[in-house]
Symmetry: none
Subunit: 198 residues, 4 copies
DNA sequence: TATGAATGAGGTTTCATTCAT
DNA sequence: AATGAATGAAACCTCATTCAT
C-alpha cells in the first residue's frame, strides 16, 4: 500500500504524511469513536485538513484504510504463528491476542457497518488474507486435535468478532474467553472426540 | 412506562403517539444505525419533529427509551420461561431467541456506548430486571446439569451480547451459536460432566 | 380593560385567569427578560398554555398588555401626587420612584422596541394618560419654580426612560439621579433662577 | 484584533472576511436588534454561514466582538480629544457624539446584558480603555471648571448610557441632552460655581 | 372555557468536502 | 504537495401558535 489509487508512486514526504495521518486516525477513532471529526485527525497528525483529504478523499476511505491496516497487522501475527511448535497453543494464543486488541478494531468495524459498507467488500484483498492465515492456524490446530473438526475459518472469524465485542463493551471478563475456548475444543461423545484421541 | 417524568398520566392520544414514536425509533435505528436523524424517526412515525422532542427531550433520551423497551421485552420473555418444564431447553431457547432478535438491539447498545453513557446506568432499574431473570433461568439450568456450574449471570450476559453482535454483523451462522452452547455446557472431566451424565 | 377585544364581558373565572397571567408575565419578563417563553408564563400563572393564548392571542399582545398595566400604574401614582402640598417634592419624588421601579419596566420597554412595535402606538390610549399626569406634575412644579420652565412632558418622559435604563443596566448609582435633578432645576443666570429665588 | 485566539496571524483573505462579517453584524444588530439571526449576518456579509462561525464560534462571541469594536472606536475618539484646546468643549463634544451614535451600541449592550454576560468582563481590556479615556476628558474639563467636580468616570459612563438610550428609543430630542449637560455643569451655590466664574 | 399535545419554521452549531493561496 | 479558509447541507433543539379533547 505504498501507492495511490492512480498507481503513481508517492514522494517520500507524501508517504510520510500518509503514515502520520493513518496512525493519527487509528488513535483518534479508537479513543473517540468513529464519529470523531476528520479535523481532529488532522490536528493529531500535525497536518492540514487538506492533506488528509488528499490522501483519503472521503472520510469513509480513511476509516477503510484504518481497518485494512489493522487487518494486515492481524494477518501478519497469524502468519508468524503458523509455524509455531504447538499448533493448539498457537491458535488459542492468537485468538486471545486479537480479543485483547479489540477496543480499537471495534470502533472501525462498527463504522464501516454503519456506513452501510460491507466490511468484506471494503477490505478488498486484505480480508481473505486474514481469513487464509486464520485458516492455516485453524487447520493445524484441528489436525493436532486441539480444536473441533466441524468448523471452518468463517465460524472462527465470526466468533472472534463476537468475543471481541463482548470484551470491549460488555466488560467481559476472561470467563467469556474461557467459554469460547471450551466451545472450540473437540466435544465429548462425538466423532470429533474420537479424532482428538487418535 | 405510561407516565411522563412529571408523574402525570398522559392523555390517550399522547400515549398513542409516544408508542408510535418509540416503535418508529426502534425500526429506524435498527435499519440505519443510531446516527439516523431524529427527523427520520418523526417521518416514520408520521408525527411532527416537535412531537418527538416533546416525548423525548433529547436524542439520547430517545435512544435510552428504545433500549429500555427492548430490555423490558427481554426480561418478560425470560420470566415467561422461568417455569418451563425443561430448564436446559428454557435456557438455551432463550439464548437463541435473543440472538435472533439481535439486529435491533445491537444498534441501540452501540449508540449508548458511543454516546458516552454507560448502558448499565442508563437502563436504570431495567438492567437488573433482565439480569435477575437471566439469573433465574441460569440457576435452574445449572441445577439440572444442563449448564456448567462455574459461571454467573454476568458471563451469560456478556456472551449473549457478543454472540448477538456476531449474528448481526459478522454474518455468523448457527455454527457460532452451536460453539457457544457447547462452551456453556458442563465440560468433560469435571464434576459437571458427571452431573450431566446422571 | 375588563373586556376582550370582542367587547363581551368576561366571566368571573376568565377575568381571574387574565389577571393571573398578566401578573405572572410581569414577574417572568422582569426576571428573565422578554425572551422568556410563553410557556414559562403559563407555568408561573398556574394555567395551561392555551389559556394564555386565549386571553392574549400573540406573545406581542401579552407584552403590550404588561406594558399597559405598568403605565397605568404609573399614571395612577402621578395622579395621586397631583394635589400634594409641595409641587417640587411631588415631581422629583415621582421621578425617583419611577426610576426605582425600572428593572421590570425596562424589560418590557426593550421588548416592544425590539419587536419592532412603536411603544407610543402600542400603548394606545394609556400613553397619553401617563403623559397627561406627568404634565400636570411638571406644570405645578414649574409654576412653583422647582423645575426649569423650558421643557415639556416629552422631555421629562424621555429623560425618565434614559435614567431608568441607566439605573437598571449600567449600575447607575444615585449620583446619576442627582445629575438629572440638577439638570432639571432652573438654571443659573436666567429668568428661571430668578423665579427659583423668589 | 488581527489574530485569532490561537495567536496565529490570519491570512489576508481571512482577515478581509472577518472584517466583512463584523461590519455586517454591526449593521444587522443595529437595524433588527440582537435577536437577528446569524444567518442574516452572513447574508449581509456575503459569506456562507460557516464562515461566520469559523471566525466567531458562537453567536455570543460575535456580539461581544461587535461591542468590543464599538468601544474601541469610542476610546479612540476620546483619546483624539484628550489634547483639544478647550477641555469643556472636548468633553461635551464627545458626549454629544457618543449619543448620536447610540442606536447601534444600544443593541449590543442590551444583548450582552441579556445573555447574562457582564459587559465589563466580556469586553476584557477594552472597557477600562474607554473609561480611562473618558476619565482623562473628564478630569481636564473639571480642572477647567466646565464640569462639576463631584462626579467620576463611572457616573459619566452611566449617564452616557442612559441618555443614549433615551436618544435611541424614546425619541429624545436635543433637549434631553441639554438637560444632562446642565446637570453636569458646576452647580450654583457651591465651590464649583465659584470656579466656573473665574 | 381550559387544557396541553401537536406542529413546523427557524435558530445555532458541526463537519465533510472544496478550492484559492 | 500542503495548507486552512470557505462552504452549505443537515443535525439537534426551541417556541409561538393551533387544535383536538
Amino acid at each position: 500500500m505504498t501507492t495511490t489509487s492512480s498507481g503513481k508512486p508517492l514522494r517520500a514526504d507524501a508517504l510520510r504524511n500518509r503514515a502520520k495521518v493513518l496512525a493519527a486516525a487509528e488513535d483518534v477513532f479508537a479513543a473517540q469513536g468513529t464519529s470523531a471529526s476528520t479535523e481532529e485527525v488532522a490536528r493529531r497528525a500535525g497536518v492540514g485538513i487538506g492533506t488528509v483529504f488528499r490522501h483519503f478523499p472521503t472520510k469513509e476511505s480513511l476509516l477503510e484504510a484504518v481497518l485494512v491496516a489493522l487487518l494486515e497487522r492481524l494477518a501478519a501475527q497469524a502468519r508468524d504463528l503458523a509455524s509455531a511448535a504447538d499448533p493448539g497453543e498457537a491458535f488459542f494464543g492468537f485468538f486471545a491476542r486479537v480479543v485483547a486488541q479489540a477496543a480499537t478494531k471495534q470502533a472501525v468495524t462498527d463504522a464501516l457497518a454503519e456506513a452501510g459498507v460491507d466490511a468484506r467488500e471494503a477490505t478488498g484483498r486484505t480480508g481473505p488474507d486474514v481469513k487464509a492465515a486464520i485458516g492455516t492456524l485453524l487447520e493445524r490446530a484441528q489436525r493436532a486435535g486441539a480444536v473441533r473438526a466441524d468448523i471452518g475459518p468463517s465460524e472462527v472469524t465470526a466468533l472472534l468478532a463476537g468475543i471481541s465485542y463482548a470484551a470491549g463493551r460488555a466488560g467481559g471478563s476472561d470467563d467469556v474467553l474461557r467459554i469460547a475456548f471450551d466451545g472450540l475444543r473437540p466435544q465429548g461423545g462425538t466423532a470429533d472426540q474420537a479424532a482428538a484421541r487418535r
